[in-house]
Symmetry: C2
Subunit: 257 residues, 2 copies
Amino acid sequence: MWCQSCKEEYEEEDAGTCKECYEEASETEEELKREIDDLRSRLLFLRLPSPTLDSACIAHSDLLLHAIPASSSSPSSAGAGDSDAARPDTPAVPAHRVILASRSPVFRAMLENEMEESRSGIIKIYDVSYDVLRSFVHYMYTGEALLDEQMASDLLVLAEKYEVKHLKAYCEKFITSKVNNDNAIAHYAFAHRHSAKQLLEASLSVLMDNMSTLADREEYKELVEKDPRLVVEIYEAYLNRQVNTAAGKDTDCSCRK
Amino acid sequence: MWCQSCKEEYEEEDAGTCKECYEEASETEEELKREIDDLRSRLLFLRLPSPTLDSACIAHSDLLLHAIPASSSSPSSAGAGDSDAARPDTPAVPAHRVILASRSPVFRAMLENEMEESRSGIIKIYDVSYDVLRSFVHYMYTGEALLDEQMASDLLVLAEKYEVKHLKAYCEKFITSKVNNDNAIAHYAFAHRHSAKQLLEASLSVLMDNMSTLADREEYKELVEKDPRLVVEIYEAYLNRQVNTAAGKDTDCSCRK
């Protein structure tokens, strides 16, 4: 027989679909591609020019956001934090009430309830560097962010604080794709702190695959010191998996009997 | 052989794909569906609450749009136009500078160049009913509109005037899907007036398929009266098609010789 798709000959045991199903599948693929084109064009329409890039957009802005870096920055972000703290002239990030209020229920409440921020049009965003705030605002307009692991973690924290679910999921997905044995403990603890379920499961899975070396790691010892309950949860999950695997094997055996 | 997709048996002449291509196609379909989910979720994030529906959104608005219906409305929209004209208390439609300026280069220029509209925050939209203006503003925030043929035509005109390309294409696609022998002359003339190429081709094609009854139609006589050049173009296109079809036949014959 001849394959209608790759045009090569194949044997009976390598048969895929009949002609009718092949044609249906081709049509479905075309339809899906048309839908993707349509969605992309709607996205381009709905995407707004970011006030972090577009000066014309700034002209209509009615808010100024100020990044106030944490005085006690975490070791990983100490550099950025300190340099911001040392620059009291860090520029404010312009934005629009209608955009922030529509993307975040926290901003919405703040701007609707005649709070100080609403009256002055100035919002202080604490514990965040200027660069992270800029990326955060950029995302509110475009639904896009340029991520590395540090930026994704910082944005996830901010997204959680201001309840921007889409950004939190976007960052979590990115971090999850970067989980490996070297960073699994740190990501596991981070996921716990910020209720990031997908990241929690991914890092826990990597930890369980490498249980024999877990206790040797420096981060493990730190975690036992700081938050021993999280360590207990790793052992509980591991034991649970062992029990389930054993039960699975028993079922297999009884089937074979 | 057995089809992997519908699980039914088929003969050799009904073979579709080989197994490898079937598996590849299934993977592609899954990938496309994941991409669609991802795009839909980004769309939901970027879609803004419409100020025509969401009262909280109105709170931050910095523009008011007033519909000024045409005094000499076209017959098809006379009803709506008259009723609007008779109601001087037609409410204004609230909006935001940042949104209108980002969707339309015309609004952008108007609002950036310190024109009267920019100073007062009041924009008069001429030759349009309140309902059409409301749908127009709704689309600027959501990328969505509830269309019938009249609304699609009215919105297309407004989209052309304010250079909102995405809305113009959206309306044109809708109207094109409604072209039939009864409305082809009207749509053909409309497409000409508003440089709607896709609609022009679709209506011209329907007209050429029904040339024998064309000259009997009332709309045809009106068009000859109002804009005879457009009628000439129909005949030219028809003749051109006939010549091409004949040339195609000749080529077929010479091939067979």
